[in-house]
């Protein structure tokens, strides 16, 4: 019993130390950098200014942020559209089919995502598989321009991030008790009413988790934009990388990075709110 308590405390302490050293401290450093003054020779000079945030919301920079947000929103929507039917199917499937399908979802993770992104260029290039198949089917008579377009960036992001939408949706749908649906139908609710008043609120935390896991990386995966978009599309991630490595405006890059953290905090708050509704609110069936 005592040993157990000691073990527990050790595990918790290790986790807390780990999180503090590799989570809290770096984030505080980034936060500190984001309010420092820029300096052409020393990366940054300490001080306090909100100028970097103001610069971030100004002209060109705001344009980059906005177009990246738009792109990532589109990626999230497409992922949701593809993942929801699949997750629903998964939740309803028999044990064995379910296992096979889940393994299929996870298999791509065995290969590094950068390698998979490069592999996509082979599919999408002028003489690539996609063009050849379309050509063989007689659907096109000249190769389509697929690679190095915004469409290719969206496709690459959807491909890489889809599992992160499927898994939380599946977890939420799996937990959903189908008897609630039956009960609602017995009590006279229409299909839409069941979906809106019963299913959606209970599955919402899963949807939000999925969106969070797709939307944020969708802003950050700079190599997808470089490899598939021909370095023409700027994601927030490309912007941050350039501030640190090319133009060396660390404070501005740190401010953009902090902005991403703030977006995440907002999404977490929404998640927390949706969870609370289930546990404390009227939904407590």
């Amino acid at each position: 019993m005592r040993r157990d308590g000691l073990f527990r405390r050790l595990v918790i302490a290790a986790t807390v130390v780990w999180m503090a050293v590799f989570g809290v401290v770096p984030n505080l450093l980034v936060l500190g950098a984001s309010v420092s003054h820029p300096s052409p020779t020393t990366f940054l000079s300490p001080g306090f200014t909100l100028g970097n945030y103001a610069l971030l919301l100004d002209g060109i920079h705001a344009q980059i942020l906005f177009s990246s947000l738009k792109l990532s929103a589109a990626v999230t929507a497409i992922c949701f559209g593809l993942a929801y039917p699949f997750a629903a199917l998964l939740a309803r499937a028999g044990r064995r089919t379910r296992h096979v399908l889940l393994v299929l979802v996870v298999i791509p993770f065995w290969t590094n995502s950068l390698v998979r992104t490069y592999a996509m260029t082979v599919l999408l290039n002028t003489s690539g598989l996609v063009n050849r198949v379309l050509f063989a089917l007689g659907l096109i008579d000249a190769p389509l321009t697929l690679l190095y377009t915004t469409g290719a960036v969206v496709a690459g992001l959807v491909y890489t991030l889809l599992p992160f939408m499927i898994l939380p949706l599946y977890a939420a749908l799996d937990r959903f008790d189908p008897r609630l649906e039956e009960a609602a139908r017995d009590l006279g609710a229409g299909r839409f009413q069941v979906l809106w008043y019963i299913k959606l609120p209970l599955v919402l935390p899963g949807i939000i988790t999925g969106c969070m896991l797709v939307f944020l990386p969708g802003l950050g995966m700079f190599y997808v934009a470089d490899v598939l978009g021909g370095a023409k599309t700027m994601l927030v991630g490309n912007f941050i990388r350039d501030q640190f490595l090319v133009t060396r405006q660390w404070p501005l890059g740190a401010a953009a990075s902090t902005l991403l953290t703030m977006i995440m905090i907002v999404l977490l708050l929404i998640y927390w709110w949706s969870q609370r509704r289930i546990h404390e609110g009227k939904l407590d069936v």
Binding site: I60, N125, D226, G230
Partner: protein, 341 residues
């Protein structure tokens, strides 16, 4: 028991770090054959660890962040040599230890970025100019920088993913220097760029020959080494030195200020300056070797290629990039604007 193992382990760690000298080289990717490192170790017992970068900016940021230690050799290009000297990140080379220095082409020494070569010796050099695939009728017409602006090239052009490489095209087109320091002129050059960027299919400085060989693009602004390899695989690809001028570069072996293994670093530099070693490097990565006796050892086809070794009258149109000082800000603003469209 446990303690004994621990002591053995410590003894092993200590001895391995004392006995075998180790050298940390930070170089461009696809720039130094692995077997050179192995042969050097065989001869001297010094183990070489190489890590790579794909832009001067990335190398500079890391060296600066580490306080000019952590690496024993870095290979910055001309403009970054100047910058790193100015910021005290490099240490003077001990020329008495570089017995093969006399092999270097004097035309490449004493350039403005390090007039006395106190801090740097050339490793490889080359040009950045235009490669065209003559199988494409529009690309076959390209003869000059101005031609890159033609609307017929839409979606057929590759430019380097490099601020100075792109802005330099517009500056040269205007007949100005690549190292223009007047912000107003830089802004003028920048105003020319949207029309050429409209033609761009992709920006790539990693492996631009790939898009050219895959026929994703028909015209590419790239390094001569890449162009030479591409033309060997597809003879329809030609390399053009535009009449308006083009950019020349030298990548240089330098020792960071606080390098740990200065002695071994000198030995390695001297090793690389040997004609037979330089020739093997230039054979594998077909950029131009600054080593005169090494050139004679190369495949005659490479020696005779104007892509790798341009004649003097062509060379005269080239210009080296130097450090821009405070004018850098104008370039960076322009680059941001181009990339956002």
């Amino acid at each position: 028991m446990m303690l004994r193992w621990l002591m053995v382990l410590i003894a092993l760690l200590v001895s391995s770090s004392v006995l075998a000298a180790e050298l940390y080289v930070y170089n461009w990717s696809e720039y130094m054959p692995d077997r050179i490192l192995r042969d050097f170790q065989k001869e001297t017992g010094i183990k070489v660890h190489m890590s790579t970068y794909d832009s001067n900016e990335a190398m500079y940021a890391k060296v600066k962040l580490l306080g000019a230690k952590g690496y024993d050799i870095v290979v910055p290009s001309t403009d970054y040599v100047a910058r790193m000297i100015r910021e005290g990140l490099l240490q003077p080379l001990d020329k008495s230890k570089l017995t093969n220095l006399h092999n270097l082409d004097p035309r490449l020494l004493g350039q403005s970025f390090d007039p006395t070569n106190t801090y740097s010796v050339p490793y490889m050099w080359g040009s950045t100019a235009i490669a065209i695939n003559t199988q494409d009728p529009v690309a076959a017409q390209v003869r000059s920088l101005a031609d890159l602006w033609k609307p017929e090239l839409q979606g057929k052009l590759l430019l380097p993913n490099d601020m100075r490489g792109v802005i330099g095209l517009a500056l040269k087109r205007m007949g100005r220097s690549l190292n223009e320091r007047d912000p107003a002129v830089v802004a003028q050059a920048c105003d020319l760029l949207p029309d050429v960027v409209r033609n761009v299919r992709l920006f790539d400085s990693d492996s631009p020959k790939q898009a050219l060989l895959n026929r994703e693009v028909a015209v590419a602004v790239l390094w001569n080494g890449e162009a030479f390899i591409a033309s060997r695989e597809n003879p329809a690809i030609q390399y053009i030195y535009p009449p308006e001028g083009f950019s020349l570069w030298i990548d240089n072996l330098c020792i960071p200020k606080n390098a740990r293994n200065v002695e071994a670093a000198h030995r390695f530099i001297d090793y690389l300056l040997r004609p037979e070693v330089a020739a093997r490097i230039a054979e594998e990565f077909t950029y131009s070797s600054p080593n005169i006796p090494a050139r004679a050892l190369l495949d005659p086809k490479v020696q005779a290629s104007p892509v790798v070794y341009p004649p003097d009258d062509v060379l005269a149109r080239g210009e080296f990039e130097t450090d821009l000082g405070p004018a850098t800000a104008a370039y960076e603003q322009c680059w941001m604007r181009i990339k956002t469209k």
